[in-house]
Symmetry: C2
Subunit: 457 residues, 2 copies
Amino acid sequence: MGSPAHKRPSGSGGGGGLPTSTSQNGGGARGGRGVLPRGRQMQKTFNNIKITILCGFVTILVLRGTIGVGYLGSSSADAVNQNIIEETNRILAEIRSDSDPTDLEGPQETEMSTNETYALGPKITDWDSQRKVWLDKNPEFPSTVNGKARILLLTGSPPKPCDNPIGDHYLLKSVKNKIDYCRLHGIEIVYNMAHLDKELAGYWAKLPMIRRLMLSHPEVEWIWWMDSDAWFTDILFQIPLVRYEKHNLVIHGYPDLLFDQKSWIALNTGSFLLRNCQWSMDLLDAWAPMGPKGPIRDEAGKVLTAYLKGRPAFEADDQSALIYLLLSQKDTWMEKVFVENQYYLHGFWEGLVDKYEEMMEKYHPGLGDERWPFVTHFVGCKPCGSYADYAVERCLKSMERAFNFADNQVLKLYGFGHRGLLSPKIKRIRNETVTPLEFVDKFDIRRTTQVETKPQN
Amino acid sequence: MGSPAHKRPSGSGGGGGLPTSTSQNGGGARGGRGVLPRGRQMQKTFNNIKITILCGFVTILVLRGTIGVGYLGSSSADAVNQNIIEETNRILAEIRSDSDPTDLEGPQETEMSTNETYALGPKITDWDSQRKVWLDKNPEFPSTVNGKARILLLTGSPPKPCDNPIGDHYLLKSVKNKIDYCRLHGIEIVYNMAHLDKELAGYWAKLPMIRRLMLSHPEVEWIWWMDSDAWFTDILFQIPLVRYEKHNLVIHGYPDLLFDQKSWIALNTGSFLLRNCQWSMDLLDAWAPMGPKGPIRDEAGKVLTAYLKGRPAFEADDQSALIYLLLSQKDTWMEKVFVENQYYLHGFWEGLVDKYEEMMEKYHPGLGDERWPFVTHFVGCKPCGSYADYAVERCLKSMERAFNFADNQVLKLYGFGHRGLLSPKIKRIRNETVTPLEFVDKFDIRRTTQVETKPQN
C-alpha cells in the first residue's frame, strides 16, 4: 500500500489523479493545458504543490504504518525481533490447538453443577497401613535418609508460555533457586506442568498433584508445596522437622488472625508441608470440594467472602477454602496443624526485600526469620500474568534482588558473588588457590548444617 | 498527530487548508464565493470531494500508525500486552544497567591480545592426591553411592532473558526435563546462570564452571555437561559407567569422522562426561587457550576452519577446539577418551523427532539408541536467540514433541500421559484405584533400573 512520493497529478480523471484542467469537461478527455490568466496559473501551481505535499505526507504515513509505531528510524533488528515474536506466537497457538490426530479422548467440556460432589479420587481409608507394609517390604527406599525424613518439594507452573514473556524468565530463575536449595539439602523436586484434573486448575491444581505424589511415593514422608513466586533466601536454613513430630500440616500463619479475626490471610498456602499419611488424604478430600471451576467455585467464593475477614469477592481459592475448613471443623483438624511463624516458611516480600543489604551487614544465613528470611514470597507480583497487584518495576527489581541475595549464598562456595543485588554479573570474592579444598571445608554448607531446633510449644 | 476526518477545506491559505476560491488573490483573504460557470463549479466540487476523501484517508492512516500495524479492530488486550512487554523490557534494561552503587569492582574492559596466554586458574598438579586425602577424611561424602559413582549434571543459560521470549519458556521446559531424569537417577544438578570468567563467555563458559565444580565438589566423580537444548528422551536409560573405568572423557562421536576426515562435527560437546581428576584439569587447561574472546578467539577460529573439514568461518568454538586438541595431541589424550556411539549420549534431533510414534509402537524405554534415543539434541534451533539455522516452526514443534515424549515416560508412574505429542494436556492412562502401590511396584523406574552393560572394546 504505497503511493509514489512525488507523482505529478495527471490529466486523467479516472482512479487517483486529480484533474489539472479547468475545462468544462470535468474528467475523461485528456485536455491540453490552455493558456490561463497569470493569477489563475499561480493558483493552480499553488494547488498542485499542496497536492504534492499532501501525497508525500500520505506516503510517509503509509510507510510508518507499515514498519511500525515509533521513530521512522527504528532499527531493523527491532522489527525483526517483533516479527519473530509474532510468528512464534502464531506457531505456538497452532501447535497447541489440540488438533493432534492421536488425541483419542476428547476434552470434557461440562462444568460440575452445584448438585454434584467432587472427589479427588476413590476413597482410601487404610493409607497408613498400606504405606507401612510397603516400606517394610522395600528397605532400599526408606522414609528417612541419614536421620532426616525424606522431603519432596512440589512446585510448578502452567504448561503454556506466560502472558508476559518476562514471566518465563523469572520462572526459570525461580526453579534454579529451588534446584540450588534442594541440592544442598537432599530434597527431591517435582516440577509440575500438567493439569491432572481439569476441574481443579489454577491455584487448585496443587491438590490432585499432592495426592498423586503421596500415593506414588510412599518413601516420601513430607510433600512440601511451594509456589513458583516463592524463593529461597536463606540457603543454610533447614526445616526444623523435629518440631512437627506430632503434626501433619505445617503452614505459616498467625493464630490470632486465624481464630480471633478469621482473616483470609491468616495462613499462607504458598509454602506448606503435608505429611504423607491418611490424615492428609482426608484433609485433601475435605479441602477439594470448593475447587471445581464454574458454579461450584463461584458459589463457594461467595461463602468464603462472607465468612472471612477482608476477603474480596472472587471465586473460591485454595487458601481461603483451607482457612474456612480449619475454622469450621476446628476440632477435627487443628490438633495436627502447626501454625508456624517462628521463621519465614512464607515471607511476604514487601517488608523484606529492601532490607537485604542491612541483613548482609548485620546478620548471617541460617536464621530463617526476619533477620534473614527463609523464603521470600512475591505474592501479588504475578510476573507470568498480565494483571499484577503491584507495580511491575517494583516487582521485577525486588525479584532480581531476592534471586541475587540467595545466589550469593550459593556462589560463596565457588568464590564468587554478584556485583550488586541488581546485577547479573559476578565477581571473585576470594583469590584462586592451588589448595581449593580448604574452602570446601569452610564454605560447603552441607558440612555446616544447623543444629536441630528443640521442639517448642 | 491526527487530523479531523471530515474537515471542510477553509478559505484561508495558511497552514493546511486548501483554497476553494479561484480568486486572483491565491491565499490570505477570505473571499466569498463568486458566481462561477457551471462546469467550473462542478469541477471545483469534484476537487473538493477528492481533497476531502484524501484527508479522510490521511486521518485513517494516522490512526492506524498510532494504534499499531494490523487490523484497525485489534483488541485492546493485545495493545495492553504489547505495552506490558515494552515496559518490562525498559525496566529490565534499567535494572541490569549495572549502575548499582554497591558494585565495588568495575568490569575489565580490555580483551586479551594474542601475545598473552590465558589460564583458567593457578596450575594444580596434585589434584588426584588432594582429592583422595579429602575423601578419606570425609567418609560421609563418598564418591560412590549405592554402588554408583556420583554424577553431577551441569547445565545452564545466560543470565539475561532470551532475545526471543519463547526461548525462556523452552529453557524452563528443558530444565524440568532434566529435573525429572536426574531425580529418577540420583544425579545432582547445577544450573549455571553466571559467567565465571568474562573472557570465556558463550559456549566457552562451561570450561571455567566445570573446573570450579571439580575443585569444589571432591565427592563428585563425574561432571556431566549438558546443553540447554539437549533433552532427555529415554528416562529409563542409565549411563553405563562400567564401560568407562579406564577413561576420563566420555563424548559422543565417530572415530572415522574424527581421525580420517578430521570433521568439525566428529564429536559433540553438547553432552559429555569428564571425570573429576588431574587428567581432566590438564585437559581443561589445554583446551581453554583458544577461548578468550576477541583477537585470540578470532584468530583461533581461522586455524580451526583451515584444519577441520566442513567448518564454516567463525570464531573458535569449544567443540572445534577440542577436536583440534585431541587430533593434534593425539598421543597425549586419546588413550583416556571414550568416543561413544553405541547409544545417543547426544542424538541429533532431525533424524529422530519424526519417529517418536513409531518408537512408541515398536520399542520401549531403556534402549538409549536410535530405537529410543537417550538424548535428543536440538542443535541449531536456538530458541533463545534470534537467528536459528532451522525454521522456527519445525524447531518449536519438534521440541514440544520431544518434551512430551519424555514427559509421558515420567507421567506413566502417575497414571497419565499426554493426549498427543503436541498437546500440553494430559489424560488418564489407567483408572484410579484404592491400592495404588501395585502400580508403584510396576512402574517406578527406580525399581526397574537396567542391568549394567558389560565393558566392551
